[in-house]
Amino acid sequence: MYGNQLRAEFENRTAATWPLNVGQVYTTLERLIRDGLVVTAGADADGHDLYQLTDAGQQALTRWWDTPLTRESRPRDELTIKLALAVTVPGVDVRAVVQTQRTDTMRALQDYTRLKIAADERIPPDLAWVLVLESMIFQAESEIRWLDHCESRLVHQAKKTRSPSANNEPAKRGRR
């Protein structure tokens, strides 16, 4: 793919929610080349430079799919981007991506809850700290609810995709 194509693909797959400018795409490509994750691969008929992943780049990508995102810093809602891409890239086990993330977010939620219980028990309670923690708790909870929702939607979708062929037979012995 060439740079502008990459930009278009990203925007297509994420419903243009996080628009990119092509300059960003090229700076990122340069960084990836510098780090040995991408190489240039000639040019197409129109003279566009083409790029492809190296083995190391492929490994880095696999690692990204397999690893839950930490809660410290998530530029541009990386989790949403990650799932939007996961459903469009062949060979990615989306339910596994969802579950890995859910377990990790649940762990954070357990940690926040422990801190909150401790802060609540302090005399006098540390109210400001409790409120900050509760904000984290509700954010993590909402992320888990969203992940649950994604999963049930995936299951629903999988059933729908399976049903056209399966539908033909049961229909006959169906109602009426």
Partner: protein, 249 residues
């Protein structure tokens, strides 16, 4: 504090499920509600079970409490194999060792709070006076001593749920099974119910909490995820929460 310690220093196993399966029906129409579940809950530990509807959460709880029997595998409560007990022994174990808290509170409207809590003890042959004393202590534990003689209809939802928890853990029962115990309660009252379950576990009970709310499951020491009747993952706190917040240092 009262957590039983085994000789190896670890807390005693209160609930142990070994390769437990539950199938409804047979052949092509068989429904596998649970498949090959291995799960242990120790004294002092609270385990939450999460999963989409139909994943087998409630079935798991029913098997743990002897309200249903597995098709395969073994369920041990305080080291006793439920399948090896007679129906009578099993009923006795359910009364004496296991406490249930359900979304529907199942308090008896014609009995006062204290009478509701005392009921399982009286059924077990303890004299009314002694049972009432124990019940009052149990209500005091959940800070409800002052409403002991009120009827369920005169109590708020949160108070009713606390009465149900007092009843679930009255006497020597060490296994607390809760199915969506915060169901109809508002967020803060729901939280106080969880705090209570947490406290009972910290004091030595073993707890299993089925919930679809992550915020409630987070009170547990372990969260088990069920999907299609099997455990797919498990999370425990990392203990490094401060670093997550980026606020320390």
């Amino acid at each position: 504090m009262t957590g039983q310690r085994g000789s190896d220093g670890a807390s005693a196993l209160v609930l142990e499920m070994i390769d437990v399966s539950r199938t409804h029906g047979a052949g092509a129409t068989a429904v596998h509600a649970l498949r090959g579940i291995d799960l242990q809950v120790r004294a002092g530990e609270l385990v939450a079970v999460m999963g989409p509807s139909g994943s087998g959460k409630s079935t798991l709880l029913h098997l743990a409490g002897g309200l249903d029997s597995p098709t395969d595998g073994t369920v041990l409560v305080e080291a006793r194999d439920l399948a090896a007990l007679s129906a009578r022994e099993r009923a006795r174990l359910r009364r004496r060792s296991v406490g249930y808290v359900f979304q529907e509170l199942n308090l008896i409207p014609a009995l006062t709070a204290a009478e509701n809590v005392a009921l399982p003890l009286e059924l077990d042959g303890i004299h009314a006076k002694a049972a009432r004393d124990v019940a009052l202590r149990a209500l005091d534990d959940v800070t409800l001593a002052d409403i002991a003689d009120r009827y369920p209809d005169d109590l708020s939802g949160g108070q009713q749920q606390r009465v149900a928890i007092a009843r679930a853990l009255v006497g020597e029962r060490r296994l607390l099974l809760a199915d969506e115990p915060t169901g109809a309660l508002d967020s803060e009252t729901g939280e106080s119910v969880l705090a209570l379950i947490r406290t009972r576990c910290d004091r030595g009970a073993a707890g299993m909490l089925v919930t679809h709310e992550a915020r409630h499951a987070a009170w547990a020491d372990r969260v088990v995820f069920l999907r299609d009747g099997a455990i797919v993952d498990e999370s425990t706190p990392s203990g490094g929460a401060e670093s997550l917040l980026g606020l320390h240092g």
